[in-house]
Amino acid sequence: MNLRTLAGILLTLCLALLPLVAGPYWISVCVNVGLYALLGLSLNVILGQAGIFHMGHAAFYAVGAYTTAILNTLYQWPIFAAMPVAGAVAALVAVAVARPIIHLRGDYLLIVTIGIVEIVRIALLNDVGGYTGGSNGIFGIARPNFFGFKIVKTVHFYYLVWGMVAVSILLFYGLWRSRYGRALNYIKEDDVAAEGCGVHVTSYKLSAFVLGAFWAGMAGTLYAAQMTTITPESFNFMESVIIFAVVILSGGSILGVLVSAFLFIGLPELLREFSNARMLIFGLAMMLMMIWRPQGLLPPRPRRYHVADSGSGAGGASAGGAA
């Protein structure tokens, strides 16, 4: 068993048993970490795997949260029924905005995605359509009900959020280890070569974007249900920056995203005793961590393939020597 698998198992055990030892405060911090892990995992598909410079993930998070809030408070939809719809609405917004801009290069795409966060936030602030409640946001969102079990306590949310993280890890790991995940990596490495090999670059970029947005939308549902009150300021540019930094620091692997989410969300909590200087140290830590590990904490290892040993050396036209 290698080190990384061991670390994964240990982390799972710790997370499963944490509520037994931690107080409510730290459990709520870990709920928050779980939400950022979800956001990080979904952004990782876009930014880490496909290499699309996307710094506007909070926009889709916001769309999901607001969709949930509106469906729940205005139309009395249960939270879990609203969840797929929230994801779908976020995905639809992603299609609409990404379709015309997905071909933009690196930094041009970066500012456009930042612009999207700002446009969404301003639209929410200005109470677009009379549904979003302006700067007051929406309050009175109901607690979710899981087959008759009402999820109220922080510890319930803890298991809900981390359960969702676990499911996401399995799905995204599967995705990474498939032709789909490979195609995203080809695009990140060299999009011209990828297209030349037969990968439909635009459609893969777009679908990565939409998948990430769908997941962020569902994370938004969990956020809305946990907070019961949401305001536009919860989804500002700074949120996007944190999610972006979580993914870059992670190095692009799933375990890396988890560790990185703990560092980014947990660290400011540990720094609480520095009160005002907390964010100052946080900024400094961000710089130091990148200088310390420019490639990120845990870059993904190469995928493994079962290669049948067919006695190589047969029928080679070149003088390809032994490895």
């Binding site: 933009l104 930094d107 041009y108 990148m290 490639q295």
Partner: protein, 301 residues
């Protein structure tokens, strides 16, 4: 019609400030392909330093408002420029060979650091530039009364831009900067000290940004520690709008963005002006994917 011209001039004044800040983004991008997200906060620091020198150090009392503003303009530019160089040395140089996005995260960290440093030093409240620092004459232009400070801001930013343009185009050092922007490796082989050029760019860009911070203080009379985020984002938008890495592009993008915003605020709704600015950016990029003056590089195959 009068309203239109007033908004236009206001837009040019704000746009000039955006352009000065945008130049810092675009020059750094030109030589390092890095988006210096801390640049907006260097601009904030310029605004605060200006206030400290003028009021707390009582330079305006010693020299009189006009001379003091001029002197402080230069001092702020120099101080922020030095800070910019230090920033490059500590936060970016170790990451020069790393993945570009790692340097971007380091820049974001630097931005958070500076913003909170300003907050810790000065406090979280906003500050007011005293009225007597603002030139309070008005100029009659085509029968309209135009505030003198507006014209002076426009004039100052245009002068700085022209000076920069001349420096980049007419001097040997300027040529070195252009060479490094085109091809670092080739520039090094030609005997150009690339590190020195990069330091210089991190001197000029933040210098202009710091000076722009002082101009905002004098023009609007009010500053706060988060202003770097919004101005920085706008200036970055302006740099992209013009075509990032392109110096005239940043100037044009800044002025254009200022005017678009002013007109949107005047004719549509002030609450939506930022959203409209971004919307225009997106529309322009859909039509011209590399900005207005950006080169349309074909894929090398």
């Amino acid at each position: 019609m009068e309203q239109f011209f007033q908004q236009l001039l206001n837009g040019l004044a704000v746009g000039g400030i955006y352009a000065l800040v945008a130049l810092g983004y675009t020059m750094v991008y030109g030589v390092l392909k890095l988006i210096n997200f801390a640049h907006g906060d260097l601009f904030t620091i310029g605004a605060y330093l200006g206030l400290t020198l003028l009021v707390s150090c009582n330079l305006s009392g010693l020299l009189g408002p006009a001379a003091a503003v001029l002197a402080v303009f230069v001092m702020v530019g120099l101080l922020v420029a030095i800070l910019g160089c230090l920033l490059e040395r500590t936060a970016y140089r170790p990451l020069r060979k790393a993945n570009r996005l790692s340097a971007v995260v380091s820049a974001l960290g630097a931005s958070i650091f500076f913003q909170n440093a300003v907050m810790l030093i000065y406090g979280a409240r906003f500050y007011v530039y005293p009225d007597y620092l603002r030139p309070d004459f008005t100029v009659s232009l085509f029968g309209m009364a135009v505030p003198g400070v507006r014209l002076m801001v426009i004039a100052a930013s245009v002068l700085l831009m022209l000076a920069l343009w001349a420096f980049i185009q007419r001097t040997r050092t300027g040529a070195a900067i252009r060479a490094v922007a085109i091809d670092q490796g080739a520039a090094r082989l030609m005997g150009i000290n690339v590190n020195r050029v990069i330091s210089l760019v991190f001197f000029i860009g933040p210098g202009l940004g710091g000076a722009a911070g002082l101009m905002v203080g004098i023009y609007y009379g009010q500053i706060d520690f988060t202003m770097g985020w919004s101005y920085g984002l706008k200036a970055f938008t302006a740099a992209i709008l013009g075509g990032i890495g392109n110096i005239p592009g940043a100037m044009l993008g800044g002025l254009l963005l200022g005017v678009i915003e002013a007109l949107a605020a005047g004719y549509i709704a002030i609450a939506w002006k930022d959203a409209i600015a971004f919307l225009v950016l997106i529309l322009i990029l859909i039509i011209r994917p590399t900005g207005i003056l950006g080169e349309r590089t074909a894929d090398k195959l």
